[in-house]
């Protein structure tokens, strides 16, 4: 199913305190990872609305990453738990609709985990390359 040379498009919603700061640290540490994801900074992973994820997938994204703080470390105390519940349900809905739930990833990356951020990005891109383009993309 994967096409040769297929490069997935990803939208990454990163919380500013942990995942976003972790992404900055990956930069400061010059850790290379594939450039497929366009980051959108939010204050908290709890701000991410499931409809945004659907919107991104409908607008041409092959995958969506949501990056938040580790459980217990949320800058706003519990936003990441809300994100976890929402993503859990959203993945179930996507599965019903025939979209591989693996296309939506929720990852905890702390501000000190630059290496982890780079690894998460690399793995996600590899996984999406395996999955191939999201069917129906680019058609509406």
């Amino acid at each position: 199913m994967a096409e040769a040379g297929f490069e997935p498009r990803i939208v990454a919603f990163l919380c500013r305190w942990c995942a976003g700061a972790g992404a900055d640290l990956a930069g400061t540490s010059r850790l290379q990872y594939p450039p497929n994801a366009i980051p959108i900074r939010v204050n908290c992973s709890g701000r991410v609305e499931p409809s945004w994820v659907v919107d991104a997938l409908r607008s041409g994204a092959d995958g969506v990453l949501i990056g938040g703080c580790h459980p217990g470390d949320c800058h706003y105390m519990v936003g990441n738990y809300k994100a976890r519940r929402r993503v859990y349900l959203l993945r179930k809905v996507l599965e019903e609709l025939g979209v591989e739930p693996e296309r939506v990833r929720l990852e905890w990356v702390s501000a000190t985990e630059g290496a982890r951020f780079a690894r998460v990005m690399t793995e996600f891109v590899e996984e999406l390359r395996r999955l191939g383009p999201l069917q129906g993309n680019g058609q509406g």
């Binding site: 500013r16 900055d24 930069g27 400061t28 290379q32 980051p39 701000r47 945004w52 105390m77």
Partner: protein, 651 residues
């Protein structure tokens, strides 16, 4: 649109001219350029001039992370007349040029810059929320950290409420004999500070009191304090002590860690502040109806007042300093060391009382069971610490030092005595600390044995200690007269519950959580709440004092501010759309949302996480400058193809 080269940091990877040219053609962009260093003065002037000349209604600087220069560019824009909230940073360095290479990096930079242009197009000019504040500080805990914090805040000119739950301030430091590494008498250096706090015109001492309820937010906390009755008027009490002599009750003394007894009417120690006896209602024969009353009969100054009532105080404070201190992990939890049932197995604080000149033995080292002078004393370090399987995983930090001090003071008191110290490692990181431990090891004839003690049990009038010296690999058995356990340091009972009332987070062990482990060690995550002393983590006296002063400086910054400001990028309700369904309110960790017919957001309490916005089913709750509509166009800007330069040439 301003694209920064950042020297070669960005321009070495990303084709900045191409980014600028692509963005120039993006809808809504009227001006696009690139510059060697946007953060330099000429770079900022470029921004200011463009704002004025092109009458810009928004600006995007594609440069380093917004955590670096967002403030710089927003300030520059403001000076040219553009509302700072209409300026956004596109991060094309940390999240692009430093982590990618080749044309793909340029492509990503264009997409990232486009998303921020789309965001700015939807941004509204905002003004920081201004809020007034109380000019009083609450300090919870009257140990050395709290005393220091209270003194520093009061010296800076602000009123302080110093709340302490026991009848006197002084805390743990008042119980100590001498302090490492200088062997200063602990009470001698502490009591002047206690007196200073008591007489300071701007410190109101509330001993025998507890914080019952806290509401509000940074600068505007409302606290309710319950002050228990002491049944003794401190202004009249002359400390003659006749009351305690006639009192028929004897209970274990808290101050002496159970090694002596006190009457129901008592003073914890002679230099207690406030300088007054306290009638402990819990151990008294009975006040309602009065069952005994002997104390009042002998009280010449008529200080005892059985009709005293508890008081509830309501106060508004701008900042709160938590200095609730520590206690020792109970000996009863140490099954391997006799479950706390062997009288001559004591903890470190008990040994402090035994060594103390004001203690139950007047400073003579005598063991609790029979009052004999112990000749063989075993000190066990890390008792309950660094033991993730059974007890606490962390290092309690102060025990290596105080055990060395204990062993040394014992050897001074009992020159023909033998001291053994079992240890895992020696951690003596502090000014003069390593030297002090070396002195104990080399000059004072104390036998340090590297290894853990497996078992401690009573054998006749001896306490048997079975351990291993891991350096020689030999089993060690000591028939000791006294065993001192350096018990783990744990937060004071009830302190984590108090922290919860203040919405100040605690860690897995109940210690207060700082806002950032490296850069914000004095602040709780909740604004306006600061941490001092061992309530935050095991700490020695100089560290507790330093943190007390640091927390005071932080509190004074709030109390002295003419007005507090708060980010306006918070949630807001479109009342026309809100159905009053109440789904949002429980999402909020700051209780910033109230709902009557419709929801209302307290913009001062709201921290802007947006969790409520994501939960709102009717789209009534929005986030200022990050609305759903903005995010939708950001998503499209991120995903739509980047046109080739040739395709649109001349367009």
């Amino acid at each position: 649109m301003f694209v920064c080269h950042c020297g070669k940091n960005i321009a070495g990877t990303v084709d900045v001219a191409r980014v600028s040219e692509a963005l120039a053609r993006h809808p809504g962009v009227v001006y696009a350029t690139h510059h060697e260093y946007m953060c330099s003065e000429p770079g900022q002037e470029l921004l200011r001039r463009a704002i004025r000349e092109h009458r810009l209604t928004g600006a995007v600087v594609a440069a380093c992370s917004p955590s670096m220069h967002e403030t710089t560019f927003r300030r520059a824009a403001a000076s040219a007349g553009l509302n700072p909230y209409l300026v956004e940073i596109a991060n094309i360095r940390e999240q692009c040029s430093w982590v990618h290479e080749g044309p793909a990096a340029t492509d990503k930079a264009i997409r990232v810059a486009r998303t921020m242009v789309e965001k700015v197009k939807g941004n509204h000019p905002l003004t920081p929320v201004e809020v007034g504040h109380a000019e009083k500080c609450l300090v919870v805990g009257g140990g050395i950290a709290g005393i220091q914090a209270a003194l520093d805040v009061a010296d800076a000119g602000f009123e302080v409420l110093l709340v302490e739950k026991s009848p006197t301030i002084g805390g743990r430091m008042a119980q100590l004999s001498e302090t490492f590494p200088t062997l200063d008498c602990s009470q001698c250096i502490l009591t002047p500070k206690m007196v200073e706090a008591a007489h300071h015109p701007r410190i109101r001492l509330l001993t025998y009191s507890e914080v019952e309820e806290v509401s509000g937010f940074i600068g505007n906390y409302h606290v309710r304090i319950r002050k228990k009755p002491t049944y003794v008027n401190p202004d009249r009490c002359n400390l003659c002590g006749e009351c305690a002599k006639v009192c028929p009750i004897r209970v274990p003394s808290e101050f002496d860690c159970g090694l002596s007894e006190r009457a129901a009417i008592y003073i914890p120690f002679p230099q207690a502040v406030p300088s007054s006896y306290t009638l402990d209602e819990g151990s008294c024969l009975g006040l309602v109806p009065l069952r005994c009353g002997e104390c009042a009969k002998v009280c010449e100054p008529r200080a005892i007042d059985f009709d005293m009532h508890e008081e509830l105080l309501e106060e508004d404070v701008g900042a709160i300093i938590l200095a609730t201190g520590y206690e020792l992990y109970p000996k009863e939890a140490m099954a391997e060391y006799g479950h706390g049932t062997v009288p001559d197995v004591i903890d470190g604080l008990q040994f402090e009382r035994i060594l103390s000149a004001s203690g139950p033995t007047r400073g003579e080292v005598r063991r609790p069971s029979d009052g004999r002078v112990p000749k063989e004393v075993v000190f066990i370090q890390c008792s309950g610490s660094r033991d993730p399987e059974l007890h606490k995983p962390y290092c309690s930090k102060i025990c290596c030092m105080y055990t060395a001090k204990h062993a040394l003071l014992f050897r001074h008191a009992v020159p023909d005595g033998k001291a053994y110290v079992f240890y895992i490692d020696i951690r003596a990181g502090g000014k003069g600390y390593e030297e002090f431990v070396n002195r104990a090891m080399e000059e004072e004839g104390i036998l340090y044995l590297r290894g853990k003690v497996a078992k401690v049990f009573r054998d006749g009038d001896k306490v048997m200690v079975w351990g291993v010296d891991t350096l020689t690999g030999k089993r060690v058995e000591v028939a000791a007269d006294l065993v001192v356990l350096a018990q783990a340091v744990v937060p004071t009972t009830g302190a984590p519950e108090l922290a919860r009332k203040l919405r100040a987070a605690v860690d897995a062990h109940g210690f207060l959580q700082e806002a950032h482990p490296k850069l914000r060690p004095l602040e709780a995550l909740t604004g306006g709440i600061f941490l001092a002393g061992a309530a935050h983590a095991p700490k020695d006296i100089p560290e507790a004092v330093a943190q007390g002063s640091g927390a005071a400086a932080k509190a004074v910054a709030i109390l002295s501010a003419p007005v507090l400001t708060h980010s306006p990028e918070v949630a807001e309700v479109d009342e026309a759309l809100c159905s009053g369904c109440r789904i949002c309110a429980p999402q909020c960790p700051y209780t910033a949302i109230t709902v009557d017919e419709v929801a209302h957001v307290n913009e001062i309490l709201c921290e802007g996480c947006g969790t409520c916005v994501a939960a709102c089913p009717s789209g009534a709750m929005t986030m200022r400058n990050l609305s759903d509509v903005q995010v939708q166009s950001m998503i499209r800007a991120a995903l739509s193809e980047v046109p080739e330069p040739a395709e649109v040439k001349g367009g």
